[in-house]
C-alpha cells in the first residue's frame, strides 16, 4: 500500500493535465468516496483526477462502527477498510498521521500539518466529528476518556488493566457501545444518561424500558434522568468517581464520555465557508459548500438541514460527490434513518419516525418490545423493535415502498410480510437490495457468503443484515437448482453431525475409514470431519480415545490429552470434583509445578490449571499426579469440564441442600462424556445461586422442595441464562433427567454447538426438550438412560490408560529424532 509521508509531486508535474482532488480526512466516509471514484472509473486516474487523501490518524481508514469489537480482540487488520494494495493504484496517494491544517481558497491550496502544500482543483472535507465533552469539572483527570478512535481503544484498554468499575456518560448508541467495551474489559459498568430513557433519539419509552431490562440483565447498571455534576479525583490524582446532581457519587476507576458528537468544522470556519449556527459545514443537495470548489461529506456536513450521525447517509453523500467528480449530477437530499443495531448483543431497530402513538406488543417477561405506527391510510410511518428485530427488513421495505399495511398484528408478531421483491432493501448501510444480490449471484456465479459480501458490500457495514444476505443467497442458489449443502464439510456434504451420529449408532460404524468409505467422499477427511467423528465414536462408547485409528483423528488437544497454548506448550488440569482437593494432591500439584516450572492458576471451575508444560514432560507429570490420586480433568476435550458448587448446607447459613456432594456425584458420573462441544455444570445450595448455575449448560439450584434443573445457559461471548427444565426433583429424578438431557444433546447437537445454541435451534426450544426429557414424548427415555449407564460403566481416566501403554508414550516426544546420531 502506498502510504507515504512524502509528497509524490513528480507524477503530478509530469502529467500536468490531471486535475487534483484533495480529500481532507480518511475515515469511513472519506475512504468510501475514493472507493466510489475508483469503482466508477476502474481507476481514479482514468477520469483525470489525481487523488490525495490526508488522514489524521496514524493508520488508514477502519470500521469505526465495529470499534467495540477491538475490545473483543479484533485486530487493526480485521477492522481496516483499505484492501491490500488499494493505494498502489495510479493517481492515488494516502498520507497518514498528517492533517490538512489550512486552506487557501484563492490559491486553491491546502497546507498540511507537516507544512506540505497540496494544490487542488477540488477539495472534499471529510473531517468527521469529534466527541462532545460537556464542561464538567474534572474532565481533564487521568482516567477520563472519549471513545471514537482505535487510539482511544488502546488508551482505555491500557488504563483499565487491573481496574474494576467504569462509568459511561451518555446512554445513546455510542455510549452503549462504550459500555459494552468496558464490559468486555471485565469492568463493572454504570451508564449515566441525562434523558429519562436510553437511546432517546431512536427509541420511545417502551422500547427504552425493554432495552434497559435486558442491559441490566447483563449486569450493567443504568441511571437515566441523571445529570452529572463533576468528576471527582482520588488521592492519587486520577478519576475516582462521577458526582450526580442529586448528590450521589458513583465510584469509578474510569469514566468514558460519550455525550454526542460535534461536527469538525474548524478548517471550514478558518477559510470562511458558511457554517450552521450550531456547527457543521452547510452544503447544498450536491454536497457543495458555499465555495463550489469545495464539498463536504459525512458528519462534518450539515446536509438537508441537519448533521447525519450515521454511516449510511455519509456513504450516500460520498457516492453523490464521487458521481459528480466523474461528471454526473447525483445529489443527496437526506435519507431514511432506519437503523438496526446490535448493542451488547441485543437487537435494537428503529424505522422511519419512531416517536408517536402506534400499535404496541410489549412483553416485559421476555423484555421484547415492538411498536408499529401506521397512519390513517394504512402507510407505515415508523416502528421500534427491541429484543427481536427480525421484522426489520420487511418493515423498512414497507416504509419505503409506501405499501398499505392491512395486518398490523401480523407485523407485530414478526411473521413474514413477504417484502421480498427485487427492490427490497437488504443492507441499509450500503444500499444493497435483494435484486442487487440476486444479479451478483446469477451474473458472477457466486455461491458463498464471503464472496457475495465482498462483491456487493452487503453486510460489511453494521453487519446486521448478514443473516438476510445468507438467506437470499441460499434461496437463490436453491432456485438455480444448485444443491445447497448443509453438510459438515466436502467429505460429508450431505451429512450433519447428527446424521453421522445416527449412522454410527444405527449402522454400527466403529471407524472413521469405514464411515468415509461408505458414506463420504475423498481419501482422508479433514480437520472438520475427523475430530467430529472421533467425538461421535467416543460418545457411542468407542473406548480409549487414542486407541488404534482413532488417535490420528483427534485434534491436538485430545491427541496430547492437554490444552495447547499459544507458545506451543500445554496446560494440565487435574479433575477436582466439587472443588475438593486433599493436602497430598495439592502437594503433588505444587511439586510438579515447581519441578517443571509451571505457572499455576485457579480456574473459574474451581480447580488448578498448570501452564507451560512441554509435550515431552506430560507423561511424567501425569504419572506423578496419578500417584497422588488425581485424574484427567478433560479440560482438553469437547466433554464435561467441571461441576462448580458452593459449600451448601454443610457450612452455609442459607444452604438448603448438600450442593457439594451433588456436584461431586454429577461430576464423577459424567466425567469423560464426549459431546458436540464442551459441557459446564454447577450446583447451588440455595436460590442465592453462588455457583452461577444459571450460566451453565446444566445448572442445578436447591430449594426446600428439591432440586430445580436449568439447561442451556452460557457465559462467554454471548451470555445466556439457563431455562427451567423441571423443578422440585429428588436426587434420583435429577440424575435421570440430566442423563436424558445430555444424551439427547449428544445425539442431536451439531458440531461445536453448545447447549445454548442447540436449544435455540431445535424447533420448540426448551419446551420441546422438556417434552422429550421429562415427559418422554418420543419414547427415548430408557434408551438415553441406558446409553448413559454404559458410559458411566466404561469410564476410565485417559491418562491412566495412556501411561499403561508404552507405544502411546512415544507420541509425547517433541522430536522423533532427538538423541539420534546425525
Amino acid at each position: 500500500m502506498a502510504i507515504s509521508n512524502r509528497c509524490g509531486t513528480g507524477l503530478t508535474t509530469r502529467l500536468g493535465v490531471r486535475r487534483q482532488l484533495v480529500v481532507a480526512g480518511h475515515g469511513m466516509v472519506g475512504h468510501r468516496l475514493v472507493e466510489e471514484l475508483v469503482e466508477a472509473n476502474g481507476l481514479a486516474g482514468v477520469d483525470g483526477w489525481e487523488v490525495t487523501v490526508v488522514g489524521e490518524e496514524p493508520r488508514p481508514a477502519y470500521d469505526r462502527v465495529a470499534l467495540s469489537s477491538a475490545f473483543a480482540g479484533a485486530g487493526e487488520d480485521q477492522l481496516t477498510l483499505v484492501s491490500d494494495g488499494f493505494f498502489d493504484g495510479p493517481g492515488l496517494t494516502l498520507l497518514v498521521d498528517e492533517a490538512v491544517a489550512a486552506v487557501d481558497r484563492e490559491a486553491h491550496t491546502a497546507t498540511t500539518t507537516t507544512g506540505r502544500v497540496l494544490r487542488y482543483d477540488h477539495l472534499v472535507l471529510a473531517t468527521g466529528s469529534r466527541p462532545f465533552v460537556p464542561p464538567l469539572p474534572g474532565r481533564e483527570l487521568p482516567g477520563v476518556f472519549t471513545y471514537r478512535t482505535l487510539d482511544d481503544v488502546d488508551a482505555i484498554t491500557a488504563w483499565c488493566a487491573g481496574r474494576r468499575t467504569g462509568v459511561v456518560l451518555g446512554g445513546g448508541l455510542l455510549g452503549l457501545e462504550a459500555a459494552n467495551a468496558l464490559r468486555l474489559l471485565g469492568l463493572e459498568v454504570h451508564v449515566v444518561e441525562m434523558a429519562p430513557r436510553l437511546m432517546p433519539v431512536q427509541l420511545d419509552d417502551g422500547g427504552a424500558a425493554a432495552l434497559r431490562t435486558r442491559i441490566e440483565g447483563l449486569g450493567v447498571h443504568v441511571h437515566v434522568g441523571a445529570s452529572s455534576e463533576a468528576i471527582d479525583a482520588g488521592t492519587d490524582g486520577a478519576v475516582a468517581g462521577l458526582r450526580l446532581a442529586d448528590g450521589t457519587t458513583l465510584a469509578a476507576d474510569v469514566v468514558v464520555i460519550s455525550a454526542g458528537i460535534r461536527p469538525r468544522d474548524d478548517l471550514a470556519r478558518a477559510c470562511g465557508l458558511d457554517l450552521h449556527e450550531r456547527g457543521g459545514i452547510i452544503v447544498d443537495d450536491s454536497c457543495r459548500t458555499s465555495d463550489p470548489a469545495i464539498s463536504a461529506v459525512g458528519e462534518c456536513a450539515v446536509a438537508a438541514g441537519r448533521v447525519w450521525g450515521l454511516v449510511a447517509p455519509g456513504y450516500k453523500m460520498a457516492a453523490a460527490v464521487a458521481d459528480q467528480l466523474g461528471g454526473g449530477d447525483a445529489t443527496f437530499e437526506g435519507t431514511d434513518l432506519s437503523t438496526k443495531l446490535k448493542l451488547l448483543g441485543i437487537d435494537v431497530a428503529s424505522v422511519g419516525e419512531p416517536h408517536g402513538p402506534g400499535a404496541v406488543l410489549d412483553d416485559p417477561g421476555s423484555a421484547t418490545y415492538k411498536k408499529v405506527r401506521v397512519d390513517s391510510e394504512g402507510h407505515l410511518v415508523g416502528a421500534v423493535l427491541v429484543g427481536d428485530a427480525s421484522a426489520f427488513g420487511d418493515l423498512v421495505q414497507l416504509h419505503r415502498s409506501g405499501a398499505v399495511v392491512t395486518e398490523v398484528l401480523t407485523l407485530l408478531a414478526g411473521t413474514a410480510v413477504a417484502a421480498t421483491g427485487p427492490s427490497a432493501l437488504v443492507c441499509s448501510c450500503n444500499s444493497v437490495t435483494t435484486g442487487d444480490l440476486v444479479s451478483a449471484i446469477e451474473a458472477d456465479g457466486i455461491s458463498d457468503l464471503a464472496t457475495l459480501k465482498a462483491c456487493t458490500k452487503a453486510g460489511t457495514g453494521c453487519g446486521g443484515c448478514v443473516p438476510t444476505v445468507k438467506l437470499v443467497l441460499e434461496r437463490q442458489l436453491a432456485a438455480q437448482g444448485v444443491d445447497v449443502r448443509r453438510g459438515l464439510c466436502e467429505h460429508f456434504p450431505d451429512h450433519t453431525r447428527q446424521d453421522l451420529y445416527d449412522l454410527c449408532r444405527i449402522e454400527g460404524f466403529r471407524t472413521f475409514s469405514d464411515l468415509l468409505a461408505r458414506h463420504g467422499t475423498g481419501p482422508r477427511g479433514c480437520e472438520v470431519c475427523k475430530p467430529t467423528v472421533a467425538s461421535v465414536l467416543a460418545s457411542l462408547g468407542g473406548g480409549y480415545v487414542l486407541g488404534g485409528e482413532q488417535a490420528a483423528l483427534q485434534d491436538t488437544n485430545d491427541f496430547a490429552l492437554a490444552n495447547l497454548q499459544r507458545n506451543g506448550t500445554y496446560s494440565v488440569v487435574p479433575r477436582m470434583p466439587g472443588g475438593e482437593v486433599t493436602p497430598r494432591q495439592l502437594m503433588a500439584c505444587a511439586e510438579v509445578a515447581e519441578d517443571y516450572g509451571l505457572y499455576v492458576k485457579v480456574t473459574g471451575g474451581q480447580r488448578l490449571d498448570l501452564f507451560g508444560a512441554k509435550l515431552d514432560d506430560l507423561p511424567t507429570i501425569w504419572a506423578r499426579l496419578g500417584d497422588a490420586g488425581l485424574e484427567s480433568g478433560h479440560a482438553y476435550g469437547k466433554a464435561l469440564r467441571t461441576v462448580k458448587s458452593c459449600v451448601g448446607i454443610n457450612w452455609c447459613r442459607y444452604g438448603v441442600q448438600d450442593s457439594t456432594s451433588m456436584a461431586k456425584l454429577l461430576e464423577l458420573r459424567y466425567r469423560g462424556l464426549r459431546a458436540p462441544h464442551k459441557l459446564k455444570m454447577a450446583v447451588s445450595g440455595c436460590a442465592r445461586e453462588c455457583a452461577e448455575a444459571m450460566s451453565k449448560d446444566v445448572g442445578v439450584i436447591a430449594t426446600e422442595a428439591g432440586w430445580n434443573l436449568y439447561v442451556g445457559g452460557n457465559g462467554g461471548f454471548r451470555p445466556r441464562h439457563a431455562e427451567l427444565l423441571a423443578e422440585g426433583l429428588s436426587d434420583a429424578e435429577l440424575v435421570r433427567s440430566i442423563d436424558r438431557f445430555l444424551q439427547y444433546y449428544v445425539r442431536t447437537g451439531e458440531r461445536l454447538e453448545r447447549t445454548a445454541a442447540w436449544i435455540e435451534r431445535v424447533e420448540g426450544g426448551v419446551d420441546h426438550v422438556r417434552r422429550v426429557v421429562i415427559e418422554d414424548s418420543l419414547g427415548l427415555g430408557a434408551d438415553l438412560e441406558a446409553q448413559m449407564a454404559a458410559h458411566v460403566e466404561s469410564y476410565e481416566c485417559e491418562w491412566a490408560a495412556t501411561l499403561r501403554q508404552p507405544d502411546r508414550l512415544a507420541l509425547f516426544q517433541t522430536y522423533v529424532n532427538e538423541g539420534a546420531p546425525t
Partner: protein
C-alpha cells in the same frame, strides 16, 4: 520441490544435487524408522537444527514442511490434523486452523503466506530428510 518416493531397489540415484559446499557430503539426514511415524498424522524432527514437520500418509509417502506456524512463529504444524481439501493434501495448524498444502507449503486460507517444504525420502525403512544446501555439512 522434489518429492522422492520409496525406491524398492534402494537406489540412491535420485538424490538432489547438493550445494557446492556439500558436494562430497550425503545431503540426506537420517531421522527415524518409518514405523515411528503415525499414519495420517504429523511428527516433528530436528534437521540441521531446524524443526521439520513430517507427515506420513496412508500410502507411506512422507512429506516435510517447516514445523513453524508462520502466523504465530511457534513450532506446532506437525501437531495439526491431516486432511484433504479440494484434492490437495493438507494440515490444519492446531493454533487457529489455517490449512497448509503438504506438497507446496502454500496456505489455503491466506494466499500471501506459505511455509517451506523439505524433501523427504524413505530408504530401507528409514525416513531421511534433505538438509538445505546452504547449511554446511556437519
Amino acid at each position: 520441490m522434489t518429492i522422492l518416493h520409496t525406491n524398492p531397489a534402494g537406489s540412491v540415484g535420485s538424490i538432489p544435487a547438493p550445494g557446492d559446499n556439500n558436494s562430497r557430503q550425503n545431503p540426506w539426514e537420517d531421522v527415524c524408522e518409518l514405523g515411528r511415524l503415525s499414519v495420517e498424522r504429523g511428527a516433528a524432527a530436528l534437521v540441521a537444527g531446524a524443526p521439520v514437520a513430517l507427515f506420513r500418509l496412508a500410502d507411506d509417502e512422507v512429506l516435510g514442511l517447516d514445523d513453524i506456524d508462520p502466523f504465530w512463529g511457534v513450532s506446532v504444524l506437525s501437531r495439526g490434523v491431516v486432511g484433504s481439501i479440494a484434492g490437495r493434501d493438507t494440515v490444519a495448524s492446531p493454533l487457529l486452523k489455517q490449512r497448509f498444502d503438504l506438497r507446496t507449503g502454500a496456505c489455503l486460507d491466506d494466499p500471501a503466506v506459505s511455509v517451506a517444504t523439505w524433501p523427504v525420502r524413505v530408504l530401507r525403512g528409514r525416513v531421511e530428510v534433505a538438509r538445505p544446501s546452504f547449511v554446511p555439512a556437519l
